[in-house]
C-alpha cells in the first residue's frame, strides 16, 4: 500500500505506551482544560491524579473522573470512548452542542490526539487509514474539531507503523484531519516540536541518538539548541 521505504529501528527498546502518556502528562500545566483522544491519549489520565487539570469528554462532560469499577457503573455515564466513568465534585454535564462550543470556541487549552501520519508542517492525518478501503468515508468523530479548535495540539503515537513505515513525513499521504494544527509530537522514541522553521527534535529516549531518530523519520529534523535525553 505505502510507497514509503521501511525504516531502520534502533535496538534500544522504545517507550511503552504508558510512558508516552506520562511524558505528555508532564507537559500539561496546572489549571488546564484538556481533551484526550482514543488510544494512547486516554492513558494520560492515569498520570494526572491530584493535579489541577480538568478533563473534558466531548460526549458532554467537564471534569470527567476515572473509569468506573464494577458496582459503580451507570449506563448513562460514559466518556467519549464509550467507557463507564465516575464524576467528581465540580463535574458538569451538558449537551453535544455546548460541548463542541467549548472545543470550537477555543476554550480547550490542550487536545492530545493519536495520529496515523503527521507532516513537517504540522498537518495531521488521523481519521482515515486508506488500507481499510472505505475511500473518503470513515470515522471523523470529534477529531477535526479538536485539531482546529484546541489552543495546543499534542500528538501521542508510535514513531513508526507496525509494518516499519515512517509516520512523520514531509507530506501526509492519508486524508487529513486538519492542516498545520500540531504543536508537539511525542512518540516512543522522541519529543518533537513543530515550528515555522520545521520539526525541532527536542528530546530522545535514553540510549538513542538524534541520528537514530532521523533514520526513522522521513521529514528533516532540526536538532534543538537545548536538545536532551528524555526524563520521565
Amino acid at each position: 500500500m505505502s510507497k514509503l521505504s521501511k525504516v531502520v529501528v534502533p535496538d534500544m527498546p522504545p517507550l511503552e505506551r504508558e510512558m508516552i502518556a506520562l511524558r505528555i502528562a508532564n507537559m500539561l500545566e496546572d489549571g488546564s482544560y484538556v481533551n484526550l483522544g482514543i488510544g494512547i491519549p486516554t492513558l494520560v489520565s492515569n498520570w494526572i491524579e491530584g493535579r489541577d487539570i480538568v478533563i473534558q469528554s466531548e460526549i458532554g462532560m467537564l471534569k470527567c473522573g476515572p473509569l468506573a469499577e464494577e458496582g459503580n457503573i451507570d449506563q448513562d455515564r460514559i466518556n467519549a470512548s464509550c467507557q463507564f466513568v465516575c464524576d467528581m465534585p465540580g463535574t458538569s454535564y451538558f449537551n453535544v452542542e455546548t460541548s463542541f462550543a467549548m472545543i470550537r470556541g477555543g476554550r480547550m487549552d490542550v487536545a492530545v490526539l493519536g495520529a496515523l501520519q503527521v507532516s513537517a508542517k504540522g498537518d495531521l492525518a488521523g481519521w482515515n487509514n486508506p488500507a481499510r478501503g472505505l475511500g473518503k468515508m470513515g470515522n471523523i468523530g470529534g477529531s477535526m474539531d479538536l485539531a482546529v479548535g484546541a489552543k495546543k495540539v499534542i500528538i501521542a503515537m508510535e514513531h513508526v507503523t507496525p509494518g516499519g513505515d515512517p509516520k512523520i513525513l514531509k507530506k501526509c499521504e492519508y486524508p487529513l484531519t486538519a492542516k498545520e494544527c500540531i504543536d508537539f509530537i511525542v512518540t516512543n522514541y522522541a519529543l518533537i516540536e513543530v515550528t515555522p522553521k520545521g520539526l525541532v527534535l527536542k528530546e530522545v529516549i535514553p540510549g538513542i541518538t538524534a541520528e537514530d531518530v532521523q533514520k526513522m523519520t522521513e521529514a528533516k529534523l532540526i536538532i534543538a539548541d537545548d536538545f536532551k535525553e528524555m526524563e520521565l
Binding site: I38, V96, R132, L134, N139, L176
Partner: protein, 233 residues
C-alpha cells in the same frame, strides 16, 4: 396540552416511506431504543437516518439496516472502530456494496447542522474540515485570515429522542451523558417524539432544570428504564 401516547406504535403512526429521521445517542448513551424497535416493526422504507454512529453502541439500529429500511445515513462516526469488526458489520458492508449512501461530518458540524435547523439558521461557516475531504464541493470563505467552509442546516422530518423524565406537555430532562444529541435533535425535528423512562405529572419537573422545553416535543411515550447497556467500541 396532553402529548402523552399510551401506545408507542401509535406515536410513530405517521412516519412515512422516505422520511428523514434523527436518533439521539452518543454511542450507547441516551438512545431511543424502544422507538427504534417500533420503527423496525412498522417496516417503513427508504429512510434517511441521522445518527452519530451506526457501528458502536446502538445495535438496535442494525435491525433497520438488515431489514433494508435505510437508503441513506448521515453520521459522524459511522463504522465500528476496528477494521476487523467492520468487515463483519451489516452497515459497513451495506455501504461498501453501495446499498446505503453515507454522508459523514465532524461532530461539531453535525450537531450544529441540527441546532441551526432548530433555530431557523439556514447555513453557517466553520473552519473545521477546511483543507480536508469534508471541504469538497462546499463554498469556502476567509474570515479573519482563516479559511472556513459553509455548512447547511439539517432539518429532519422526525426526531426520536430518549429522556430520563418527561411530562405530558413535552418538557424533558436528560440524565448525565445521555443528554448528548437529544436536545439538538428535538429542536431540529418537524415532529419530535420522545421516549421517556418516567412520565411525571405536569408541574412535577423543576422548571429551573428543564433541558428541552415542551414546545420542541410533539409526542411523549413512557417506555421505562432500559436494561444495562453493553459499552464497547
Amino acid at each position: 396540552m396532553d402529548k402523552l401516547y399510551p401506545d408507542i406504535d401509535a406515536a410513530i403512526e405517521d412516519v412515512f416511506d422516505g422520511a428523514v429521521i434523527a436518533f439521539g445517542s452518543f454511542f450507547s448513551a441516551g438512545r431511543p431504543l424502544e422507538l427504534t424497535k417500533a420503527l423496525a416493526r412498522k417496516g417503513v422504507k427508504n429512510l434517511t437516518v441521522v445518527v452519530q454512529q451506526l457501528g458502536t453502541g446502538n445495535e438496535e439500529m442494525l435491525e433497520l439496516i438488515i431489514k433494508g429500511q435505510v437508503k441513506k445515513a448521515i453520521c459522524s462516526y459511522p463504522f465500528p472502530r476496528s477494521a476487523s469488526k467492520g468487515a463483519e458489520h451489516a452497515f459497513e458492508q451495506a455501504v461498501r456494496k453501495g446499498h446505503i449512501e453515507l454522508e459523514v461530518y465532524p461532530i461539531g458540524t453535525f450537531v450544529e447542522k441540527l441546532r441551526c435547523a432548530g433555530a431557523g439558521i439556514p447555513a453557517f461557516y466553520t473552519p473545521t474540515g477546511a483543507g480536508t475531504v469534508v471541504a469538497e464541493g462546499k463554498e469556502a470563505r476567509v474570515f479573519n485570515g482563516v479559511e472556513n467552509l459553509m455548512e447547511t442546516a439539517l432539518p429532519v422530518d422526525f426526531a426520536f429522542v430518549h429522556a430520563w423524565k418527561g411530562d405530558a406537555e413535552g418538557n424533558l430532562v436528560y440524565r448525565f451523558t445521555a443528554q448528548n444529541y437529544n436536545n439538538a435533535m428535538a429542536m431540529a425535528g418537524r415532529v419530535t417524539i420522545a421516549e421517556v423512562e418516567t412520565a411525571v405529572n405536569v408541574g412535577q419537573l423543576d422548571p429551573n432544570f428543564i433541558h428541552t422545553p415542551g414546545i420542541f416535543v410533539k409526542r411523549v411515550v413512557e417506555t421505562g428504564r432500559p436494561e444495562l447497556y453493553e459499552t464497547t467500541v
